[in-house]
């Protein structure tokens, strides 16, 4: 494979393109709404209408507005049809010749689409994820060629540093710095791992990227491997994502056939192989040391860091671990330049971020916006607010490690620092909108139950702390708790956060702390009065004696005097 071959494939692909194209969403959201039958229906209708030489039906990745699926986009008109039933295929095809169709039309001019800025998702919904030619026609693998032919590994690492790209898995560690450490560590063998163990409930960005544009991730990983000097890569993907797994398998096979993966990539001395490792349903495996243990075929128990994986990782060798979205950002940074990337976003958070909008919101689906976009714009303008005229009460970001951001803080720009300041985290990008019918204490207990079940059991604070916190939250919800229990809950939050071994335990109290911070009154309403025998029988006495405010830990039982 040389540049000429790449250009030839691209030209062939573009030449074969027909005047009309029907892009049919084949990502998991639409697939579950029967988009496979829609695609087959369209193919038959095109054949029946004798338009086979003018109309192409293409299965593509996510078209983003998942709530209106199955979606079909028509080029070159740019029309978007929603909720397409397989029976309506004939009328859709007829509409290409000026016929009428009763199908519901989406509005491509809606802010949901207009306000997006696509870098990671630029091929999503455009190319056929199961054909490498389709990716090459969208200038795929040009970045890899440029890296192998024109750049030294050091140049690639420098480009990453200059771009200001930060890890998209949640913590926001500077990608360039991580690559530097792995590149500098001396070793005979190094590994690259793509973390696709998207465990946060309510997040489906990585799944969509893998389903819509798997080659982009492979290309990003291969560039990373060249930069740090690795020869073996692993993609650790959840077993719950069978479609993503099968598309990755197809992509790896195709890339190997064309010599874009395997030995002698692009006829250079550089070799790189990628294997898929399928997770087995353990949330803790999203933590990097646990993930490596799982890749090695062991239980997913984390270990203390340092040593960091960049120095001692998989089988004791230096290992680069990045998230799916991080790798997907790499090829455009190479082709368009680090300066271009660094101009997007805010001072400390560069580029764009993909978010999965879900919950009590009108437009659920996938969006990609520049860093620094205010939450209000995402939720109210793009997402269309809560359905049925309800008011948005809070937005949950970061999954079980994150927090709930109240409606009055919606003007916060979305970047790593601002969200941390609000007691939440960027997380991998799940955004769940809640309205006034959602009780925040219940939400906190939901996440605590999650952490309790998912705790691996290695360290005591996380193993027993989450159980106790869950117990306290249940008591509060059932109206059995007093102010003393609330004080104990806060104390426990503090303890678990500071003494747990890995990120799971350290962040498990976050949903409780953030709901306590912004929705404390909801907790207080549920408390029963202290010492009922001694206390005055006056009605809602609980609200009158709140435990001493923000003071953490042992603030002493409030008002024990009888």
């Amino acid at each position: 494979m040389l540049l000429d071959d790449l250009i030839r494939i691209k030209e062939q692909e573009l030449a074969a393109r027909k005047p009309f194209q029907l892009r049919c969403c084949m990502a998991a959201g639409c697939m579950s709404a029967n988009s496979q039958a829609v695609k087959e229906g369209l193919e038959q209708a095109v054949k029946a209408a004798g338009l086979s030489d003018r109309v192409e039906v293409r299965g593509v990745g996510c078209l983003r507005l998942c709530c209106q699926g199955p979606l079909v986009a028509v080029d070159p008109a740019g029309t978007l049809y929603q909720k397409v039933a397989p029976e309506a295929a004939a009328s859709l095809v007829a509409s290409l010749n000026g016929g009428e169709t009763a199908l519901e039309r989406g509005d491509p001019g809606h802010p949901f689409f207009k306000e997006q800025m696509s870098i990671v998702l630029e091929n999503s919904g455009q190319i056929d994820p199961e054909r490498i030619e389709s990716y090459i026609a969208a200038d795929g693998y040009l970045a890899l060629r440029q890296v192998l032919r024109e750049m030294r590994p050091q140049d690639v690492v420098n480009a990453m540093i200059k771009s200001g790209l930060r890890g998209r898995g949640g913590a926001g560690y500077p990608t360039g710095l991580k690559w530097t450490t792995v590149a500098k560590t001396q070793s005979t063998r190094k590994f690259v791992i793509c973390n696709a163990d998207e465990g946060d409930p309510g997040a489906f960005m990585d799944r969509s990227v893998l389903e819509s544009d798997p080659h982009r991730v492979l290309e990003g990983m291969t560039i990373a491997a060249y930069a740090v000097g690795a020869d073996q890569g692993f993609i650790y993907v959840r077993a719950e994502y069978p479609l993503a797994i099968s598309r990755l398998q197809i992509a790896i096979r195709q890339a190997k056939q064309l010599g874009l993966l395997g030995s002698g990539v692009f006829e250079s001395p550089f070799s790189f192989n990628i294997d898929i490792r399928i997770g087995a349903g353990a949330f803790v495996c999203g933590e990097e040391t646990a993930l490596m243990a799982s890749v090695e075929g062991r239980r997913g128990s984390p270990r203390p860091r340092p040593p960091f994986p960049a120095e001692r990782g998989l089988w004791g060798q230096p290992t680069l671990i990045n998230n799916v979205e991080t790798f997907a950002n790499v090829p455009p940074i190479i082709t368009r330049g680090a300066d271009w990337f660094a101009r997007i976003g805010t001072e400390k958070s560069k580029g764009t971020k993909v978010f999965a909008l879900a919950g009590k919101i009108n437009n659920t689906g996938l969006i990609e916006v520049p860093m620094g976009t205010p939450l209000r714009k995402i939720v109210e303008v793009m997402g269309g607010g809560a359905p049925a005229g309800n008011a948005v009460k809070a937005v949950q970001t970061g999954g079980p490690s994150g927090g709930c951001i109240p409606a009055d803080a919606l003007d916060t720009p979305v970047d790593y620092e601002s969200l941390t300041k609000l007691g939440s985290i960027m997380g991998s990008g799940g955004m769940i909108v809640m309205d006034q019918t959602d009780r925040m204490v219940d939400v906190a207990r939901f996440f605590m139950e999650f952490c309790m079940d998912e705790s691996c059991g290695k360290c005591v604070p996380c193993r027993t702390g989450t159980v106790q916190m869950h117990h306290l939250l249940s008591n509060i919800l059932e109206g059995k708790a007093t102010g003393r229990d609330l004080a104990r809950l806060e104390e426990l939050c503090d303890l678990v956060r500071h003494t747990s071994l890995c990120g799971l335990g350290q962040t498990a109290p976050n949903p409780v702390l953030s709901t306590l911070r912004f929705f404390r009154s909801e907790y207080l309403e549920l408390l029963r009065p202290e010492e009922p025998a001694a206390a005055a029988p006056a009605g809602p006495g609980a609200a009158a004696e709140p435990p001493s405010g923000g003071a953490p830990a042992c603030s002493g039982p409030p008002g024990p005097a009888s």
């Binding site: 579950s32 998207e198 465990g199 939400v443």
Partner: protein, 171 residues
């Protein structure tokens, strides 16, 4: 990576069940490497539906691992099950998006109608009721997976309707 220790003559399962041979081939393809354990367990569960002690011991001997290690891994991960599943499975997604959109009510309705709790199988082995952490179908919440079909926007009534069709169906 550990050096592959290939047994001189791989143990053949005395039952002569063809599925053991398929599993054997998979382990061979992985060169009996210890780090392939999770992949092998995935394959075993795919072939047999669940992992019983006999099957785990077979893997233990083939990969030359201590039984504690194989049992430990098989019980650590939620995806592996040591008990047989019913003829039909129903997985209610309990991810955050599905939860705030009413997955709890769907699950409660199913639990009551089937008389079992999540994670259990009905005594006649017809239905297994399971929950998932998040199946990533948040855009179409609440989602339920009936056998293999991910179904969008489920209500308690829709779930019960499905349950009636499968439990009344002739075996």
């Amino acid at each position: 990576m550990q050096a592959a220790v290939s047994p001189a003559s791989p143990p053949v399962h005395p039952s002569g069940d063809k599925r053991f041979r398929i599993l054997e081939t998979v382990m061979k393809r992985h060169q009996y490497k210890h780090d392939s354990l999770i992949e092998v367990l995935h394959k075993a569960q795919e072939l047999f539906g669940y992992l019983d002690n006999d099957l785990l011991l077979f893997i233990t001997h083939s990969l030359r691992l201590p039984p504690s290690r194989v049992y430990g891994v098989a019980t650590f991960y939620h995806y592996f099950t040591l008990k047989p599943k019913g003829a039909h499975t129903c997985v209610v997604c309990m991810g955050t998006a599905c939860y705030v959109k009413g997955a709890k009510a769907v699950l409660a309705a199913l639990e009551e109608a089937a008389g079992i709790k999540a994670g259990e199988t009905t005594p006649d082995n017809q239905l297994s009721l399971l929950t998932a952490r998040c199946i990533g179908a948040c855009g179409i919440a609440p989602a339920v997976v009936y056998d293999t079909a991910v179904t969008p926007r489920q209500s308690p009534d829709a779930a019960l309707k499905w349950m009636r069709t499968v439990t009344n169906a002739p075996k």
